[in-house]
Amino acid sequence: MNTIRHGGEARIHEEISALIPWYVNGSIDEVDRQRVETHLPQCARCRDEVMHERGVYQGMNAELGVEYMPAASLKRLQARLDALSAVAPAEALSGPPAAAPRRGVVTWQGVMAASVAVMAVAVSMLAVERWAQSRTRAAPNYYTVTTSPLRAPHEVIRAVFIPTITLIELQAVLDEAGLRIVAGPTEAGVYSLATNSSRPVNASLALLRGHAKVRFAESIQPSVGPGDAP
């Protein structure tokens, strides 16, 4: 009789013991949580396990202290997505594969179509080359002091943050200033920021300039007056 009772207790102990990690991390469901809490006062081993697992839980949740900035890896992902989207339209343009012609049978319509296709490709290539040449002429490969740098869409402020800023801190600064990143960081670490709220640009700018984590901030609007009134 005692053996049966002890066997039952051992089974319950094992079941409860297996639930302890999820009791400790708080994700256990209500029914199981009540089972654990009913069992704990009767079982010193399980109480000991709960204390032990809480120590492991706390140890594993210690801050790493090192935080990676995801900007560089996000850029690599964007490049992969660009490559993917460049391939997709090309495949779409080529269309579904046509039914294979019978081998050895070449019709005059086929020859004519092939000739037209070759000519079309040649004309397209010539046009692309001319366009590329005109682009090269239009955009010289140098800058002068009067050259205006390209602006990201909706960009109103450019800023440089201290190199040790974490992602969370960066997000907090942007949230506080009502700004969002629209481009960057450049090689020099410059972010292009757009406004995210109705807050005047000069107010966001003043906030950035007063922030300890911001090394540099400038408005790229021609003039920023009080309230940004035109």
């Binding site: 991390n25 396990e49 492991v56 993917l84 969370i168």
Partner: protein
Amino acid sequence: MTVLAKNSAKENDHDLLIAVAAGNRRALEELYLGYHRRLTRFLSRFTPRYENVEEIINDTFMVVWQSAKDFRYASRVSTWIIGIAYRTALKSLRRQKHHNAARSLDDCPEQTTDPTFDTEVQDWLRHGLNQLPVEQRLTLELAYHMGHSLQEIAVITACPVGTVKARMFHAREKLRQYLPASSGGAEDMTVKGQ
């Protein structure tokens, strides 16, 4: 994280994934930035090399981009994404035949230097975790660091609940073996851990 914050994050993930499924790149980037820290920490348990971690994260988000339209919302978005990261990491390890190498790399102190792991308990914990097989180590990570439930871990790792329980059981047993002899047991450790 409060229940309210958790629900809000869940809804936000849900909305972002719908946008990703519609081909919205900005939504994918937002999701990426939201998950980068969590995944970096989680994947660091697979391999301490940041280049590998970054590659696995980007592979994961390529899958998210291409498969978002197939997601049926039967589980939380976070469970789905972390499940993809878990399988991508396992595949990456197998492909590079790094399964054992990753463990031996973990054993190299110069590659696992962690400035905050300087207390006795954390040293013990780091050493103990590095001795565990990768599946057991990740089960602990998913439960204790990422806060997933038993059922969620079963979905993430594509294993029955019983397997998750068994992995957790063995992980806990092995970790106990690495308790410092002088610590006097769990009670002492908990006090130090607090």
